[in-house]
Amino acid sequence: MSAAAHVKAASFKVAPSKLALAGEALVARGGLVLLATTLLVFLAVPLVMILIRSAEDRDGAWVGLANFVAYLNSPSVGNSLTNTLQFALMTTLVTVPLAFVFAFAIQRSRIPYKGLWRNVAMIPILAPSLLAAISFIYLFGNQGWLKFVIEWFGIKTIYGMPGMVLAMTFSSFPHALMILLAALALSDARLYEVAEALGTSERRKFMTITLPGAKYGLVSACMVVFTMAVSEFGIPKIIGGNTQVLAVDIYKQVIGQQNFQIGAVVSLLLLLPAVVAYGIDHLVQRRAQALLTARSVPYQPRRARLRDGLLLAFVVLVSAALLLVVGMAAYGSLVKVWPYNLSLTLNHYTYGFKEAGLEHAYWNSLSLGVWCALLGSAITFTGAYWLEKTRRDQTEGLNFLRPAIRFQAMLPMAIPGMVLGIGYILFFNHPANPLNFLYGTMTVLVLSTVMHFYSSSHLTAVTALKQIDGEFESVSASLKVPFYKTFWRVTVPVCLPSILDIFRYYFVNAMTTISCVVFLYSPKTTPASVSILQLDEAGAIGSAAAMATLIVVTAAVVTGVIFTLEWWLVRRTQAWRNTAQS
């Protein structure tokens, strides 16, 4: 019967048309070229423009290092450099230990409600960094409600380094925490069991097992916080007072004085610490691979009353502080005149925005967020697929593009947003550029933001793709089904939770970012995050707080919706998901 079946089914044989085959290779090649071109035009070339312009005078003539000499000889530069480094260093020294203890409490103790603390700790991600600066002005500013607290510590005014470090700590805390949570999640219980069998004290176990195990995470967290602080622009602008930092210098040179050459010079200086930090992190991570084997047994913390009690108190305190910062901004936005008239009003949300001509800002940001999320997740995921899963022989002659794409995809990780923004101005505002028409449009805001946050999204996509079977494309080729059909029918459904993650990441970051878009918006496209800056400059701190609150609430709602969607999706598809774990 079976042999007959084989023969009978011969009617199923259809020679695939030459055209369809050519089409498949064309799609593979076209996708690769498109991705490479997109990254080149919207990432690499703008960055190269910075290099070129830094060596030109206002008329475009080559002047070599003259701009660098001019800037480095200006009287304020020494201050900017020292302040920037001091700001970054202090923030790192405050944030990383706090985040480490917090992560330790969650991963290595038996405190209750871990999920709650974890979620609360992530709240700063939903907020523009400016929110923290505004909150701290409300709390500790000249009319601050808790001003006496900083006076205990001998701090006269919150404006300047103290406020900057506090606000930056708030903003960077979840980023450090995520890295340290991951670092402390990986642990081999058997190391602790061996230590115990040898009669090792708790202290010694911590020093010889826990800390070395988290070493690479700690370095990584330090580098991330340091880089964030070096390239932070909003916080020093709002709460920095007279403290000058490099990021604000760029803003003043480019926006204030239209001095693009010096702007380019400062960009390159700003790039320096970021690239060094990125390089160190990269080097250290390469050594981190072999610490844990597949056979490691996860560590289960045991109950220890004193330790758990102290850690719980710490976690509650930090969570309360984080909530206080967000809550203060929200409360401030609802109060008529802080601190004189505490009756509640929505005026800051209505008249406040209108008076400043910013009633469209929120809707601009919403549209920016949605477009970035849609376009970003589409480009990133499809791009990662084309990069990792198309056959090399199908793209013969174009394979040199793959390493180039990989490099460019990871590049934004080391590029501060402001630097990218300057590159965009220099490139898209250039009169000879045929893409000049994009300048000042929503499109350029969307594209720059997608590029700015490309690396993390790309990594998420690549990780998801590497987790699925590597032979799907080979099987579909043997069945004469073009790979792009399998991409749509199998890869996308399997990776949908990761795609939603990328979507959420782009949306939230597009809502909160300021550093890159601050150079690229036009009066019509002003995003909400930038408008906070304008409202603050105009002295409308209530409306600035209102705008910041709107962003947090929107980001939180969208995050909630997407998490619910992911949960529903995984539940609905659990018939084929996860059951195969053997």
Partner: protein, 366 residues
């Protein structure tokens, strides 16, 4: 017999590393050929080249009289099963099996009938609505097989299809796959590093090592008449005795003289004698046979149905391993410390030139 596939001078280099050295191979219609070799020998690369998933540096592939050397996978005629099965997790078993059929614009009823036929063929007629993760490893493997056969390819490629399974399931599936292949008469190439699998399933075995073919032959031929030391060593267990040829088929290993049918070595040449544990007479009138060895048993590896006894023969140098069935073990009183006499089965013993060791031999003489 008409050949189904002909490889001529298939060469593959990855930069400086040569993965395949000019492979020539002809595969007949309807036979099951195994590519057998240690990991890194190039067997999987060769399979992927046949599938068009990897491009050879040079060489020609002729399939059913058609030159497909540069054809993309979709323009070749084959079905493939991977070690991981690569079943699409979000599609049901039916959808998986129908995956290659749907693309060919066939009526829905026709496709459904074909899918049922295939699922019956592999013994899973009622599992069509489940998802791959709801099936056992062995069942998944059979679904992958059904999917590969759905479009009635004339060539079936199996890339280590059984190595992800438990030992018991693996053994059962060996027979099933082989039976199915015989019934369908589909030309099949299977890559494996498992010699038992290759010996039990193939019509012919292609033994590969370091990107080259060492020997092609039936399971019996490659096991009993290995043509190279590598084949003798890789398949089954073997004792290697260093010896000197005395001419005329006589050899001296240590102080023991042996007379073997294998000839062709000049007197004084250093050779290696390859002797399998079962290449011996242990029962009957051994004293009447030539090439006797006498020694003391210094160790026993008990392996269930048989054992490997370590026999230390004075004059031979290191001890050799001799196999006994469980019955022989008891009947012949094989135990630690026993004095035993055996006679070599000289028709099976292989002799190879000791190329690598030659300079050392010369040096020791000087």
């Amino acid at each position: 017999m008409a050949y189904a596939l002909k490889l001529e001078g298939i060469h593959k280099a990855f930069g400086d590393f040569v993965a395949l050295h000019s492979i020539d191979l002809t595969i007949d219609s309807g036979e099951l050929v195994c590519f057998l070799g240690p990991s890194g020998c190039g067997k999987t690369t060769l399979l992927r080249i046949i599938a068009g998933l990897e491009r050879q540096t040079r060489g020609t592939i002729i399939q059913d009289g058609r030159d497909v050397s540069h054809a993309p996978p979709a323009a070749r005629d084959y079905g493939i099963v991977f070690q991981s099965y690569a079943l699409f997790p979000n599609l049901t078993i039916e959808q998986n099996v129908a995956y290659g059929l749907v693309n060919r614009r066939k009526a829905r009823g026709e496709i459904k009938a074909r899918v049922n036929e295939l699922l019956t063929l592999v013994g899973l007629p009622t599992e069509g609505r489940k998802y791959p993760s709801q099936l056992s490893g062995g069942q998944q493997q059979r679904v992958a097989l059904a999917r590969a056969l759905a479009t009635s390819p004339h060539l079936l490629l199996l890339d280590e299809p059984l190595s992800a399974l438990d030992a018991k399931v693996r053994e059962r599936l060996r027979g099933e796959v082989r039976g199915l292949q015989r019934r369908l008469g589909v030309t099949t190439i299977m890559v494996t590093h498992d010699q038992e699998e290759a010996l039990s399933m193939s019509d012919r075995i292609v033994v590969m090592n370091q990107g080259a073919i060492e020997q092609i032959g039936t399971p019996g031929a490659v096991y009993e008449r290995p043509e190279t030391p590598f084949v003798a060593d890789f398949l089954g267990k073997v004792n290697v005795l260093k010896a000197t040829a005395l001419g005329g088929g006589r050899y001296r290993a240590g102080t023991v003289d042996l007379e073997l049918p294998a000839d062709g070595f000049a007197a004084g040449e250093t050779v290696r004698i390859y002797l399998r544990p079962e290449d011996r007479h242990v029962e009957g009138d051994i004293a009447a046979l030539p090439n006797r060895l006498t020694g003391k048993i210094t160790g026993i590896d008990y392996l269930g149905t048989f054992c490997l006894a370590e026999l230390a023969c004075p004059g031979l140098g290191k001890p050799i391993q001799i196999s006994y069935s469980l019955n022989q073990m008891h009947d012949l009183d094989v135990r630690l410390g026993a004095e035993i006499q055996i006679a070599l089965r000289v028709d099976r013993v292989r002799v190879f030139a000791d190329r690598a060791a030659a300079p050392f031999a010369a040096a020791s003489v000087a």
